[in-house]
């Protein structure tokens, strides 16, 4: 075990940040997908969906408020996909084999990816939130609630990024790595991200209510807009911890495996 885990992880994070700076287009692409969905749902579908959801005013403005938490999760999922791709790409290059022949902290390559993706995702989310505010998103969160929102999003990102590092490692090719995290991008749809779960048929509704993204979305919605959170907060944190730990252990095992 190397005693330089922190220093090596910091070095690897600098490497990831430099990659990001060199190719900012990837960060914008990762932010672009959720922005497109945000605009589609707000302006193409928002009128009808807003009317369906009802509420004091109904309509598009109401729906944009409802929509944003789900789009933020989609941002995280989209970034996770980017992580899986960049991990898989890294593994196909000789540089990782070089790292393996050096007396450095074993997991630092992976930690670098995770921390780099965390930064990247936070940037994407800032972009998505800025667009949301521009088109009429009006949260009523207090500063403390905003901090909690950032905390929940960071925790979820941390969890999904570890999972996607493992997915990137398990993929034999970059193509597989870009396909494996696809379900994550769809999960906000199969939850309370875009429409309330009670509008869904029984089987789907059961899945939508119990899948991990729904409590996270409900928690964010509660913090941002003041809807009731209930037990969702604990459930959200619990899911994140479980996914992060599972992803971390899986990724570590995959990386240590000798061919």
């Amino acid at each position: 075990m190397s005693t330089h885990a922190v220093a090596d992880s910091a070095t690897m994070l600098r490497r990831q940040l430099r990659h990001m700076k060199r190719y900012p287009s990837l960060t914008f692409m990762l932010a672009g997908m959720p922005v497109v969905f945000l605009l589609l749902f707000a302006f193409v579908l928002g009128g009808a969906l807003g009317a369906g959801i009802g509420g004091p005013t109904g309509g598009r403005a109401e729906y944009i408020d409802y929509l944003v938490p789900g789009v933020l999760l989609m941002t995280v999922a989209s970034a996770a996909q980017g992580t899986a791709i960049s991990v898989a790409m890294d593994m196909t290059e000789g540089i990782v084999n070089r790292f393996r022949t050096m007396a450095i902290s074993r997991a630092s390559v992976l930690t670098g990816h995770v921390l780099g993706s965390l930064v990247q995702t936070m940037i994407s989310m800032a972009i998505v939130l800025a667009v949301a505010l521009l088109i009429g998103f009006r949260p009523d969160a207090t500063p403390v609630e905003w901090l909690a929102v950032i905390g929940v999003l960071a925790l979820l990102t941390f969890a999904l990024v570890w999972l996607s590092v493992a997915l990137g490692l398990v993929s034999e090719s970059v193509e597989t790595a870009s396909n494996l995290p696809m379900p994550l991008v769809l999960l906000p749809f199969l939850g309370s991200g875009f429409v309330p779960t009670d509008s869904m048929p029984a089987g789907l509704r059961w899945f939508a209510e119990y899948q991990p993204f729904t409590p996270v979305i409900e928690t964010l919605r509660g913090l941002l807009l003041g809807t009731p959170i209930g037990g969702s907060g604990y459930l959200a944190v619990g899911w994140c911890v479980v996914i992060a730990l599972g992803g971390y252990l899986w990724a570590k095992k995959l990386y240590a495996r000798t061919r």
Partner: protein, 317 residues
């Protein structure tokens, strides 16, 4: 030479993937401060050997010592002593040459000032100063290999592994690479080189081991190996059978081809032996219409050592 301690030793090194035996009991002894070449065709097990010695994969059996440590029991001690340059350049394409070297310096915990100093020195030494600020992805094959080698040197390793360092390079880049490898040894580093080219092993190595299908088939200096190879000869073509006959009288029992009017006179291809041969032709007033020098190559070594030329073998995947 037995006073020099060993840098790398292996005894009965074995490795299989499934039921495919890749290394079948390899014994090696590489002395400190020398260049050792592992010579063999694709699929002979060269890269597997390097991967085991550099802690990338585990051996199935046998004893291994690299820089006095067992790669399996004390991988980090081995890693601290070695530098590796792979067959596929292990550089970060999204970083510049300088950033790649500073990355290595950071991972060796050299500190900012010393790291930059060493990076600058290596850029200079490996002829990369002009491209220091360019992305590695824009580099030519030769530049990538040089950067790769430079990255392996950042930690000032005592033992350097070079896995096919010149495969795919143009002749000039190849010669540059050879020069730089020789300079490393002058600094006291031990080099473990794999190659499929006899001329490369000949040019660089103090000792050469020939690997074939996971087994060592020969070991020795370049001279010793070439003595095993009967492939070196001068081929003389004559205008008519009479000239061929008089040449046969002059050179005695050497292989002849009556249809092509060709005589194969054994020779090491050196100037001295050619001068002797020409003198003998002159002395006997023999007219030669064509003369070609054939120096031994890997094919000849394989023909001599295994009874089959390399290209008739099934390359292992």
């Amino acid at each position: 030479m037995h006073t020099t301690p060993s840098a790398i030793t292996t005894t009965g090194l074995r490795k299989s993937y499934g039921d495919k035996v890749v290394l079948d009991g390899i014994d090696l002894d590489v002395r400190q401060g020398t260049i050792f070449a592992l010579l063999g065709p694709n699929g002979a097990g060269k890269t597997t050997t390097v991967q085991i010695l550099s802690t990338l994969i585990k051996a199935d059996g046998g004893k291994v010592s690299v820089g006095g440590h067992d790669p399996e029991r004390a991988p980090d001690s081995v890693r601290a002593a070695i530098g590796v340059t792979g067959q596929f350049s292990a550089v970060d394409n999204l970083l510049t040459a300088e950033e790649n070297l500073v990355l290595m310096a950071d991972l060796h915990h050299l500190g900012k000032v010393e790291g930059r100093r060493r990076a600058a020195a290596l850029l200079e030494r490996f002829d990369l100063v002009e491209s220091a600020k360019n992305l590695a992805s824009t580099f030519s094959g030769g530049m990538r290999r040089r950067l790769d080698l430079a990255m392996g040197m950042v930690g000032a390793p005592r033992i350097v592994f070079l896995d096919e360092p010149t495969t795919g390079l143009d002749p000039r880049s190849r010669r540059d690479m050879w020069r730089m490898i020789r300079e490393l040894v002058a600094g006291g580093v031990t080099i473990f080189l794999t190659t499929q080219y006899l001329d490369e092993a000949d040019e660089l190595a103090d000792r050469i081991a020939v690997l074939d299908h996971g087994k060592l088939v020969a070991e020795g200096t370049a001279e010793e190996l070439k003595r095993l190879v009967p492939g070196g000869h001068v081929s003389l073509r004559f205008a008519d059978p009479a000239a061929l006959d008089s040449a046969v009288r002059a050179f005695g029992d050497v292989p002849r081809d009556d249809d092509a009017l060709v005589l194969r006179v054994p020779s090491d291809g050196g100037v001295a032996s050619l001068r002797g041969l020409l003198a003998r032709l002159d002395a006997n007033a023999i007219e030669v219409s064509e003369l070609t020098v054939h120096t031994p190559d890997l094919d000849d070594v394989f023909l001599a050592l295994t009874g089959k030329p390399q290209h008739e073998r099934q390359p292992a995947p």
